[in-house]
Symmetry: C2
Subunit: 269 residues, 2 copies
């Protein structure tokens, strides 16, 4: 998926919503446990119910790896389902990978070829040769961690360096590696002031913004501080949508929550 | 596995060698491709041949994920095989994970419970709550990236901060989180001078040292600069051992390479 296709979808759906498929088998409706692959059944229902409000799905690999090979199969099937039924929707593998070049090349193949995701989140700590193999795929995206939504973001990301805080050094350095057609950055919704400043530093890059909902960030604050002329935002909500209810109406309820967010978003588009 | 068990094994085998199971299906002997799970068959032969010289095996998750669910199955079987036949040997999942607390808790369960690894490598960028869930398991280890062996280590890890270079800030901060009974650090063999200084900062922690062999580091330099009174080193070699040859004698040849390294190591123990 290229940048223009992403932008077209955002304006067609009047949405910059990403639904996080952090599917925890302990939190899904009990009656799904009778299926051979409850996680996949759950995801399918959530996807069908929310696709009209959603421009990206973001499965986080941790929630699949916890079930081992079986979980990876659920992940493979989930991505294949999205690609078959909603090929216009971006699939972001939230995997936060990064390793020496030779190894990152295998991760890139795992996520871009084997799983067929459109984008992957990558951790910056190991530098260019850990990121580069992911940049060598056409129409695929690297989403580099810059300023994350969690409390621990204070531990290292705000450390002072010659070029400002560490997360700014990451921004400056990584924008030398790739332009806004291949690279995006993660900026948590829990840091609205910093988001504004990051947008000034990076007028053209898309930002993936997690942390709305359960983690306390607000869509209005994010949109006000982060939007650019091409939208430039993908705002993720996971738990607030997919666990809207735990009964037979879980998918409808998820759709309602997704719609509420989409309706807030369209005011900014 | 606790620290004393690890030390006992090191002195019993007179070795601090870790064999990296970075098994690439394109690089294994062709006749193994006839098996249902060639990667597992290869690993089994390598493990049986090298176990007497080896105190840890380190499968890197990238080389398994590249085959999707099937690859994860090979990884599960490989770890189960080590645990069944060589329970004294440490299994390090080289996964470089790290995410918000709720998500890292799932990674911890994936690697420590589902896969039953003894240790996992973790990326520090997201701070304490991304690392803490891994620390909540008894007799399991976090091996935090500090100074990695790759070229890209220069990009961020050497940035100046108030407490010295960034990797030193990582060391200082993380040693507040856990002592040397739960936490180790990755320090690449390609930085011998820095290794010496790191050992002065961290007299008691074990260091996992990759980068010997194909990446250019030397065992003598590492041992001279990094050893402490309990050894305190786990030195990894991957490609130099497991791809010593590509014919029917690949396992014997791997054993010879492992033995050569072990014999260099015993001079320091």
């Amino acid at each position: 998926m290229n940048k223009q296709e992403l932008i077209n979808q955002i304006y067609a759906k009047k949405s910059f919503l990403c639904v996080g498929l952090d599917t925890d088998i302990a939190k899904i409706p009990e009656y799904l446990l009778e299926y051979e692959d409850p996680v996949f059944e759950f995801n399918k229902s959530i996807i069908d119910a929310t696709a009209e409000y959603t421009i990206a799905y973001k499965p986080n690999s941790a929630f699949y790896e916890v079930d081992g090979a079986k979980g990876w199969l659920s992940l493979e099937k989930t991505i294949a389902y999205i690609k078959e039924h909603y090929p216009e929707i971006m699939v972001i593998a939230d995997a936060k990978r990064g390793d020496i070049g030779n190894t990152s090349a295998n991760y890139a193949k795992a996520f871009f070829k084997t799983l067929n995701a459109d984008a992957i989140t990558v951790a910056p700590y190991m530098g260019l040769d850990s990121v580069e193999p992911f940049l060598n795929f056409d129409n695929k995206w690297v989403i580099l961690l810059a300023l994350t939504s969690n409390k621990g973001s204070k531990d290292f990301q705000y450390i002072d360096t010659d070029r400002g805080t560490l997360y700014k050094t990451v921004l400056y350095k990584a924008t030398e590696w790739a332009d806004s057609n291949k690279l995006m950055f993660v900026v948590g919704a829990t840091h609205p002031e910093e988001l504004k400043e990051i947008r000034e530093i990076l007028p053209d890059y898309f930002l993936l913004v997690p942390g709305v909902g359960a983690q306390g960030g607000s869509i209005e604050e994010v949109a006000k501080n982060g939007i650019n002329k091409e939208c430039g935002l993908i705002v993720n909500s996971s738990r607030g949508i997919i666990y809207a209810s735990k009964d037979a109406h879980f998918a409808e309820n998820a759709a309602e929550e997704a719609k509420k967010l989409q309706q807030k978003m369209q005011l900014f588009l």
